[in-house]
């Protein structure tokens, strides 16, 4: 019994992390894999989605529940939530609606942040661009820490628990919500990769000059890729916040920019299946290390979590040197829906 519940807990925990990273990695794959934009500031939109949730979720819940209070939802966060949460717990539909509205807000806010990043993205060369976007992303943390009315400074805020209605199944439902969005982002990215829009993005990635000579407006397509990608990142931030029902301005580029990059490189750029595989391999590895942390802890004179970094660094270096195309290589797409057409032409 306890073994099973352990396994189930492990799996649910793993799936939540996997789902959030899948959304982010798919987004990176659209931006870098398809459109060739080396977004080293993924964290910008992810943290943006998370922080905007912290900033508006409680206010929004008050409005949706028709509650009035003189307390400030940020500075008097706990007292306000102690009134909001019990009410929300009994209203599953309002909770779901709140979640969906927050997702939309997160997507829009993420997209706006993506457009801000576009400034450097159309001007700079790859390596400089990466550093600039990285610096941009760091700034959102500085502001979130310094400007207290946003999400309460360094201590952060709690957000209404939109999954409370599911009681003891809360984490299952929350995980399911993450997986649904992850599935949508995956299916969408697959579709995009086969649409003329995705094809044009790839053409720009392959050769900017040739794409321009074929009439493609580089800025426009970069903007589209940034907006789509950043919207997904924003949603990932929202979901991660709702999953843990709290947010602090401690989003770190290591977890929210570097890891996604390494996972996508591991799986293979420009290929959604690769992104999926890379995410799976990494999250399983990560969770296993944490899971076995305690059994190893006595044997080693250091915290086992650091092995995570050592392994990750090693694996990435090995992949870069020995299999730069990743585990799954990008292949040209042969359109299935056009197959009938192709056959009839070939016969002629």
């Amino acid at each position: 019994m306890s073994v099973w519940s352990d396994i189930i807990l492990f799996t649910v925990d793993l799936l939540a992390l996997f789902g959030v990273y899948l959304i982010i990695n798919i987004s990176l794959n659209i931006q870098r894999g398809f459109a060739g934009i080396p977004n080293f500031g993924l964290m910008f939109a992810i943290a943006g989605g998370a922080y905007i949730t912290g900033a508006v979720a409680t206010r929004l819940a008050l409005v949706m529940l028709g509650m009035h209070t003189n307390l400030d939802p940020i500075f008097d966060n706990i007292p306000v939530l102690s009134k909001v949460d019990p009410l929300l717990q009994s209203q599953s539909l309002t909770s779901i609606a709140l979640m969906i509205i927050l997702l939309i807000i997160g997507a829009i806010f993420g997209a706006i942040l993506g457009l801000i990043q576009l400034g450097p993205a159309i001007r700079l060369r790859e390596d400089y661009l990466a550093i600039t976007l990285l610096a941009f992303a760091e700034m959102i943390n500085v502001i979130a820490v310094a400007y207290k009315p946003f999400i309460g400074g360094i201590t952060g805020v709690q957000v209404p628990d939109v999954f409370a209605w599911s009681g003891e199944y809360r984490f299952y439902i929350a995980t399911a919500a993450i997986l649904v969005v992850a599935a949508i982002s995956y299916v969408y990215a697959e579709f995009l990769g086969r649409s003329p829009l995705g094809r044009t993005m790839k053409a720009i990635r392959e050769n900017e000059v040739a794409a321009m000579a074929l009439g493609k407006n580089l800025v426009k397509y970069r903007a589209i890729a940034m907006v789509i990608g950043s919207a997904f990142c924003g949603m990932a931030g929202v979901l991660w916040t709702l999953y843990g029902d709290t947010v602090t301005p401690t989003y770190h580029r290591f977890y929210w920019t570097f890891l996604p990059w390494l996972m996508v490189l591991l799986g293979g750029l420009g290929n959604n299946k690769g992104a999926l595989l890379g995410t799976l391999v990494f999250t399983v590895l990560d969770k296993l290390i944490i899971y076995y942390k305690h059994s190893l802890a006595g044997m080693l004179p250091f915290d086992v979590v650091w092995l995570d970094q050592v392994l990750l660094g090693l694996i990435t270096a090995i992949i870069l040197i020995y299999r730069p195309q990743g585990l799954l290589e990008e292949k040209p797409y042969v359109p299935k829906e056009l197959e009938a057409k192709l056959k009839s032409i070939e016969k002629k």
Binding site: L197, R199, A203, N207, V209, A213, P332, Y333
Partner: protein
């Protein structure tokens, strides 16, 4: 403007077009006309400014002086993608294939006004799949004509240099251009294929009413197929005329074969 020329017959007209790189004047006040429906050849030795000329009219470079008129409008200084929209499409001397796209996709991506490319419509497959099918058919016809239809699903990486040249030309053809500027379409191509390419160009001009401006090094092959020739040397037009006139031109021959 020159009063002896009928400008309604001219699709491309440059007026004292100039492009400098630092102290070097790569294109020096070049004035030339390309007649609608013609195949016009621009020749000259290496480094004489031919490629820079094409780069400047199509907007890869911004000119430092002079104007470019195309199809009745002023296109001076428009960027590459805008000159494409006006109907002026160019190929590159070194082929720039999209390496991770199949040959078919390389052609499809070059098509004009594809509704599936629009952010607002890409999710609605029914709005673009018809166009996509038509384009596929068109692409196949072009590939057949160029003799690369066998390779339609291959990555350009696996093909030889000649085939890459043909993809480059195929992309220009599918774009419904009014005029195509070909930058050394037969450089590094064996003579038989080179003649084939030129025969195709002649046919296309007849069938599709496309104007061609061709930059070439290999006069022997090119001269047989063209209507009018400009010869360029050190950034300037030094001679112009029919292929016969050019072949007889003393100055051209001296420059071209590397005399002093």
């Amino acid at each position: 403007m020159d009063s002896t020329i009928d400008y309604s017959q001219v699709i491309l007209h440059t007026d004292k077009l100039t492009k400098r790189f630092g102290g070097l004047i790569a294109v020096n006040e070049v004035t030339l006309n390309v007649k609608r429906g013609s195949i016009t050849l621009l020749i000259g030795p290496n480094g004489c400014g031919k490629t820079t000329f094409v780069n400047t009219i199509t907007g890869y470079y911004k000119p430092d002086g002079g104007r470019v008129f195309f199809d009745g409008g002023d296109i001076t200084g428009l960027p590459l993608n805008k000159t494409y929209e006006k109907g002026l499409v160019r190929t590159f001397q070194i082929p720039f294939p999209f390496l991770k796209l199949s040959v078919l996709e390389n052609l499809l991506v070059a098509a004009r006004n594809n509704p599936g490319e629009k952010f607002t419509r890409h999710l609605i497959k029914s709005s673009w799949i018809k166009v996509e099918e038509q384009l596929t058919e068109k692409a196949f016809n072009i590939m057949k004509m160029l003799g690369i239809e066998e390779d339609w699903d291959k990555e350009p990486e696996s093909l030889d240099a000649g085939a890459l040249k043909l993809i480059e030309i195929g992309r220009a053809l599918i774009s419904d251009a009014k005029m195509i500027a070909l930058d050394e379409p037969i450089a590094g191509v064996n003579p038989k294929l080179a003649h084939n390419i030129f025969s195709h160009i002649v046919n296309l001009r007849k069938e599709l009413d496309i104007t061609f401006l061709i930059i070439e090094h290999r006069l022997d092959i090119a001269l047989r197929y063209v209507d009018f020739v400009y010869a360029m040397y050190r950034g300037k037009i030094i001679s112009q005329g029919t292929p016969e006139e050019i072949a007889r031109d003393k100055e051209v021959r001296e420059v071209y074969v590397g005399g002093e």
